[in-house]
């Protein structure tokens, strides 16, 4: 896989985070007070419980990209799809995932875990939104049936210097959130300038980031932070290495505390997976081992030593190393496999 592909995937990943934050903030932001509403709760990657009558996954768990819980005891459950696979045979899987939310889901932030009703929204990137809408309309009375209200809202990032995300309704209407619904008719621009401060504290969501990007986050925010406490750090030469003793749990904890949706998830961590997942970090440490930048000290206890090294371009170095070691290769098919696993 070329560096360009990693770059595209990193763009997709960061764009998805921007899109999630941008969209949920449309419902949180109070135009009158110019502040975020406390009575609207939002969740990313919340584990919701399905009922026995669920058409796709009965009595199971699903993890929508986001849930919005309004003060009216109504909600929205949604998925952001920055890229749809070239092969349309896979699109039905995306819709199956959405159909799995067409249920009286449990684990909302209420005493009973239930709310009165929720709507389902799909956010495809603008370049595919018409095709996705057509795909849905061709099947809506057959293969794809929603009993709950279903809406498609397209989004894109503009290519101008004053960058912003644009959201516009492509299909259906929100019946419980009229104000936003009307604004989405014409489309809403959300400047990245407004999203950036939130993004700065949320660089990870419940989907595994491209490996070089995750390695960059680990390197900067965990390994370098620990290494810089060593008095040899400042004088460390280019090709020298500084050992840092660390555990998988510590890496998870530090990234979780500083770069996950933790704060935005209504400060309620029940039913929330701890992001980053331990398995992602273990995979990252294994990658560092392939690059001879880490060694296990006690694998079963998750203890390792990472050898900090100063790179001139850390992200590019990790992209090249991943390429060289053929790590984190991704095809449409693999993407779908991972996706299915995540949703199981």
């Amino acid at each position: 896989m070329s560096n360009k592909s990693f770059r595209e995937r990193i763009n997709d990943y960061t764009d998805t985070i921007f899109a999630i934050i941008g969209f949920i903030n449309l419902f949180r932001f109070d135009d009158d007070t110019r502040r975020m509403r406390e009575d609207v709760k939002v969740f990313q990657g919340r584990i919701m419980r399905t009922s026995s009558s669920n058409k796709i996954s009965p009595n199971n768990e699903v993890t929508p990209d986001f849930c919005i819980q309004g003060s009216n005891n109504k909600g929205i459950v949604g998925e952001v799809k920055k890229s749809f696979p070239e092969n349309r045979d896979f699109w039905m899987d995306d819709f199956k995932q959405l159909i799995s939310y067409d249920d009286d889901l449990l684990n909302w932030l209420t005493d009973t875990g239930k709310i009165d009703d929720h709507e389902i929204v799909l956010l495809p990137e603008q370049s595919r939104s018409r095709a996705v809408k057509r795909y849905f309309e061709e099947r809506k009375d057959g293969e794809i049936v929603f009993t709950k209200n279903f809406v498609i809202v397209e989004f894109n990032r503009n290519n101008q210097a004053d960058a912003y995300f644009f959201f516009r309704k492509e299909y259906g209407s929100f019946k419980y959130f009229n104000l936003i619904d009307h604004r989405l008719d014409e489309g809403i621009q959300v400047p990245i300038l407004k999203l950036m401060p939130i993004y700065e504290k949320i660089k990870l969501y419940d989907s595994k980031p491209p490996l070089p990007y995750l390695l960059l986050l680990i390197w900067e925010n965990v390994i370098m932070l620990h290494a810089s406490n060593d008095e040899r750090f400042g004088s460390l030469r280019k090709n020298s290495k500084l050992p840092v003793d660390i555990t998988i749990d510590e890496i998870v904890q530090e990234l979780h505390e500083n770069y996950s949706f933790k704060k935005l998830n209504a400060n309620n961590m029940s039913h929330q997976p701890k992001i980053p997942l331990k398995s992602w970090i273990k995979e990252s440490v294994n990658a560092l081992m392939s690059f001879k930048l880490a060694e296990w000290k006690n694998e079963s206890a998750g203890k390792c030593v990472v050898y900090f090294k100063k790179f001139k371009d850390t992200l590019e170095t990790f992209k090249d190393l991943c390429d060289e070691h053929k790590l984190d290769m991704e095809t449409d098919e693999k993407q779908m496999e991972l996706f299915d696993k995540k949703k199981e």
Binding site: I192, M196, P197, E200, M224, S228, E316
Partner: protein
């Protein structure tokens, strides 16, 4: 062979006196007036408390000789290699604590400028980040000089020598010039060259003091053979204030230093539409790639810029964003020392362009 070191110590009586700040400055002014070849070299510097204590306690370079009224006199020693021979050079050095601004001192030497330029200044540069000099923006430098000229009625102030860096494409080209310009003309000229003065030497006037030359560097180093009192008042004190204000403004920006690990970004505001063409993004990124002892990762370069920068001096890190045409936003990450923020901004100003440094207000 003629022996060049150690320097001739013809001012011993001056060193043995107990000085106050006032007598020190007046004494130096008097010495400069009576010794034609005598030069004073001085600069304001931030020194971390524990490091300052270490210097006062003495080490292989510093030996405290006397102290009075916040003025410390040291023997300062260093080694140089000359014709494959290692020589130990020792000289006198004053460090004056600023009474108003905590941790801000002025380092001062008299006499041999080699002692200063090969020993004292490199020592403090190497002590970074425990000791940290400042950088003076072009705007500030111009204002300091205008203030010095106008308030002292030095109408004939002439720039006689400049060390200039010009931004030519991706390259920064140094040059030395002897322009004999007025102040305004010199600053117009360097703006036309798309550059900045690293160092600027001037004469105050043919009538008032024909032989007095003063040089001011971007890092706050001043050298002169006269006008000590005015130099202290018009350069050292305002630069010390800038050092202090920068320390305050750049401090506690790291997420680990803030409640809820909130971010405290700052921005460089150009005051006009700087980032109009995409080429400007590339130019900025290229400039950032030249930062020494750092890692630069480009997360996004078009249409907006998002960079991740690590500072290998102390492990500080930053995200840098260009999300509008007028501003560069700097978001200090978990660890970000004020020294590192200063170094980063200094690099942007030197290698890309200067703007106004401001707090970037965050509303979530």
């Amino acid at each position: 062979m003629r022996k060049r070191y150690p320097m001739i110590d013809y001012i011993s009586p001056f060193y043995s006196q107990k000085h106050t700040q006032d007598t020190l400055i007046r004494g130096i002014e008097s010495l400069l007036g009576s010794h034609e070849d005598l030069r004073v070299c001085l600069f304001p510097v931030y020194i971390e408390s524990f490091y300052w204590d270490n210097l006062k306690s003495g080490n292989s370079h510093f030996k405290l000789l006397s102290k009075n009224d916040g003025i410390y006199l040291f023997d300062f020693s260093f080694h140089i290699r000359e014709l494959e021979e290692k020589k130990r050079i020792t000289g006198k050095l004053f460090i004056i604590e600023n009474k108003q601004y905590k941790n801000i001192c002025t380092v001062l030497t008299l006499g041999n400028s080699l002692f200063f330029s090969r020993g004292v200044l490199p020592y403090f540069n190497k002590a970074y980040p425990r000791a940290s000099l400042t950088f003076i923006t072009h705007k500030k430098l111009k204002n300091l000089l205008i203030d010095f000229r106008d308030r002292n009625n030095f109408k004939d102030l002439t720039i006689v020598r400049t060390t200039t860096y010009s931004r030519i494409g991706k390259k920064i080209m140094p040059s030395v010039n002897w322009p004999e310009f007025s102040l305004e003309k010199a600053f117009e000229w360097v703006a036309d060259e798309n550059g900045w003065f690293q160092n600027l030497k001037f004469k105050v006037g043919k009538l008032q003091a024909p032989n007095v030359e003063i040089s001011v560097s971007r890092n706050g180093v001043i050298k002169s053979n006269g006008y000590m009192r005015l130099i202290y008042e018009f350069f050292i004190l305002p630069i010390s204030k800038t050092v202090y204000e920068n320390v305050k403004f750049f401090s506690k920006r790291a997420r680990l230093d803030n409640p809820n690990r909130n971010i405290r970004p700052l921005c460089i505001d150009f005051g006009y539409e700087q980032f109009i063409e995409l080429e400007e993004n590339r130019k900025f990124i290229d400039a950032m790639r030249t930062m020494k002892a750092s890692s630069l990762s480009v997360i996004h370069s078009n249409p907006y810029v998002h960079l991740s920068i690590f500072d290998y001096f102390d492990g500080s890190s930053f995200d840098i964003w260009v999300l509008s045409r007028e501003k560069i936003i700097i978001v200090p990450q978990l660890k970000a020392s004020f020294q590192s923020i200063k170094r980063l901004i200094n690099h942007i100003f030197d290698n890309y362009d200067e703007g106004d440094i401001k707090d970037y207000e965050v509303r979530e």
